[in-house]
């Protein structure tokens, strides 16, 4: 199954209000409003885009080892995925 179809299936189950998530209509509305506000803020349009120079960075990995973007780019292209957290 494609990622988007998987996400669509999750969304449908979550927003149905039924098991296993059992989320109330009120809570779903709050989430929708928050996404809509973020969309209207235009932040996504102002984020870095194709052609921009990517900022260089140095961050710890899961084992506390420092990972440098310049080291990774010396080896080849770099794919970065930003995610909010596992929760």
């Amino acid at each position: 199954m494609s990622l988007q179809r998987e996400l669509d299936a999750f969304k449908a189950a979550f927003e149905s209000g039924g098991p296993p998530y059992n989320v109330s209509r009120e809570r779903i509305e709050i989430m929708h409003r928050a996404t809509e506000e973020l969309r209207r803020s235009g932040l996504a349009e102002r984020a870095l885009k194709v052609g921009d120079l990517a900022p260089t960075f140095e961050l710890d990995n899961q084992d506390g080892q420092l990972v440098r973007s310049v080291d990774l780019l010396a080896e080849g292209p770099l794919v970065i995925t930003f995610f909010r957290g596992h929760w």
Binding site: L7, R27, A47, A54, F57, N61, Q62, L72, I80, F82
Partner: protein, 142 residues
């Protein structure tokens, strides 16, 4: 997590093309480690404390108060997971950066249930790594 698992599925392809893959999240190291283990991720999950890198990419936003309360009711205490008392998060985003440091693909969406296919990302990397195409692309953007 669905997106991370889907990216894990194409990680061997990306690696075969000579590319790196990393995930960046504001969650503290121990949570990243647990998430990585649970989802059987082989790529690094980096800790972006206080969203400094997310900010540099223009992705950081503050949760509205009602959603903050809702997450707290779910037991998601972001101040604990992220050491982030302001409850800021990165917008979901996927980037492909070329070896010259230029962004070659960018997918940013305020809705985390709308994400690009990993195969599309593999296609961008493949094109970057195809001999001849890199020169063509950099010429087009210079």
């Amino acid at each position: 997590m669905m997106e991370l698992e889907a990216l894990q599925a194409v990680w061997p392809q990306l690696r075969a093309l000579g590319a790196s893959l990393i995930a960046i999240s504001p969650q503290l190291g121990q949570y990243g480690r647990a998430a990585r283990r649970r989802a059987k991720l082989e790529f690094d999950v980096l800790t972006d404390v206080h969203l400094r890198v997310a900010e540099a990419f223009g992705l950081a936003f503050t949760l509205p108060p009602d959603l903050k309360q809702l997450y707290a009711a779910f037991g998601n205490t972001l101040d604990k997971f992220h050491d982030e008392p302001d409850f800021r998060l990165p917008m979901p985003a996927r980037y492909v950066v070329g070896q010259d440091g230029r962004i070659r693909a960018a997918d940013v969406n305020p809705d985390y249930t709308s994400r690009p296919e990993p195969e599309d990302t593999v296609a961008v990397v493949r094109q970057l790594q195809t001999p001849g195409s890199k020169a063509t692309r950099s010429k087009a953007t210079s």
